[in-house]
């Protein structure tokens, strides 16, 4: 009998497989918090990573800069055009904002679902395993980050906070496969249409907005925002644009394919969004 199958080794192997299965089961469970050991390990690694990240980013940034220089002229021309429109838009927004404030005061309603506090964070790593698309950012519970907060870039929503340790947090991207990753959203139009974002189509690179009423009329190119009804996300975070609408398998509701506005690959800085109206406050009011 070869050494390989000696009893003792076989037993060790079996025991470690059992431990492995138990550990995987444990980590798949919905956990509110990581254990202190995980938190400590994460923070230590994130600290080291932020040291290595700087020079690496410098090298990568150099090539990016060279690439950027090539398109500067065209971009400049385009931006100048935009700038003129921007001035007009800004004055309009300002007047609308003032009006909104005045009306709110009249109604005696100070806070809205739209209000949020932004926490700036830098992305210092990404899951190299790439089965689950997650980012590691350098802000944690010490900076006020909590589980399930929305994470955005200036282009739009990219995901939510999955786990937090004192000085770092893991962000789960919208493109990650997770059944529990549901976001209440609405399609902006003459009449807002509400639905739930559930899942991501990898081949089409589009988010799935499900449970849209069957009689809702939706057109391609309409914009989709978070509705703030889910409890944690604020209202009005831009998600993307409608690409196609199909009936679901039973024909009772419709499914819209949404092209995400944010780029899920090239992310350097993110904003973690904390809603001003807390869950508890809302419940009290009801």
């Amino acid at each position: 009998m070869p050494k390989f199958f000696l009893n003792k080794r076989l037993i060790i192997l079996l025991v470690s497989i059992m431990v492995l299965i138990a550990l995987i089961g444990f980590s798949l469970k919905e956990r509110d918090e990581l254990s202190w050991m995980e938190k400590f390990t994460k923070d230590t690694v994130v600290f080291m990573q932020s040291i290595v990240h700087k020079p690496a980013q410098f090298v990568a940034g150099f090539f990016e800069n060279v690439n950027d220089l090539r398109y500067t002229y065209e971009e400049n021309k385009r931006l100048k055009e935009h700038l003129e429109q921007y001035v007009l838009l800004e004055s309009e927004v300002e007047s609308l904002k003032k009006e909104n404030e005045r009306l709110r005061e009249l109604l005696n309603k100070k806070e809205s679902l739209r209000d949020f506090v932004a926490i700036q964070a830098t992305v210092i790593g990404r899951n190299p395993d790439r089965w689950e698309e997650t980012l590691i950012v350098n802000k944690g519970s010490q900076h006020g980050v909590k589980k399930d907060m929305a994470v955005i870039t200036p282009q739009g929503l990219i995901g939510k906070v999955r786990s937090v340790s004192p000085f770092s947090a893991t962000v789960q991207l919208l493109s990650a496969k997770d059944r529990q990753n549901r976001i209440s959203a609405f399609i902006q139009g003459d009449e807002n249409v509400f639905g739930l974002i559930e899942g991501y189509d990898e081949e089409r690179e589009a988010l799935l907005l499900k449970r849209i009423p069957y009689d809702a009329k939706i057109e391609k190119g309409q914009r989709v925002f978070t509705s703030g009804l889910g409890g944690i996300f604020p209202k009005g975070l831009f998600i993307g644009e409608v690409e196609e609408v199909v009936a679901d398998e039973y024909g009772l509701t419709q499914i819209a394919y949404i092209k995400p506005a944010a780029n899920f690959y090239d992310i350097d800085d993110v904003i973690i969004v904390k809603r001003k109206i807390e869950m508890s406050q809302e419940e009290e009011r009801q």
Partner: protein, 174 residues
């Protein structure tokens, strides 16, 4: 070379895997799902040129770090890395230690880790990727890139590890 050189090198490699994916995700990783697997290459080389105990220790420690920090799926990589180190050590009992066998085993190890990770994701429902897509878009490109990288670094890496090992056993005879 000091004692801490090898742990330091592997740690930097471990950190770089994540940073590379983050910084170069746009140009490199959009079309194919390339996955950096240099850690397991290092573990293979350490197992072959330094020893089974060292290989398994590095495999377990860095596998566990990988689980805790990156994937949040505890135990998966810690188990795979140390088991692969063990099997390679056993196989090396009957084979010659040289850069070619090490390269060969490193490629085999990457194959094992990739299919193992895919199997786990299928079982826990973390992916719905078909075997065909996995093979064409993820496995083959990853293996291809790593084969090139391994062939380039195999010889220098081997020399470096042997030198480090020699120096260390001189300074502290065990």
């Amino acid at each position: 070379m000091s004692r801490l050189f090898l742990p330091f090198l592997v740690t930097v490699m471990f950190l770089l895997e994540s940073i590379i994916v983050q910084l170069l995700s746009q140009p490199l990783f959009d079309v194919y799902l390339l996955v950096p697997r240099m850690l397991i290459v290092f573990i293979t080389f350490i197992t072959i040129f330094i020893g089974q105990t060292e290989g398994m220790t590095y495999g377990f420690v860095f596998g566990l770090l990988y689980d805790v920090v990156y994937t949040e799926l505890l135990g998966a990589y810690a188990f795979a890395f140390s088991l692969i180190a063990y099997l390679i050590a056993k196989a090396m009992n009957v084979l010659h230690k040289n850069a070619w066998t090490a390269s060969f085993f490193a490629i085999v190890a990457i194959t094992c880790v990739e299919w193992y990770a895919y199997a786990i994701q299928l079982v826990i429902g973390g992916t719905t990727m078909s075997v065909r897509t996995f093979f064409q878009a993820r496995f083959l490109p990853t293996l291809f890139i790593h084969t090139i990288v391994i062939l380039i670094i195999a010889y220098p890496l081997k020399q470096m590890l042997l030198k480090w090992h020699e120096k260390r056993s001189e300074s502290s005879p065990v």
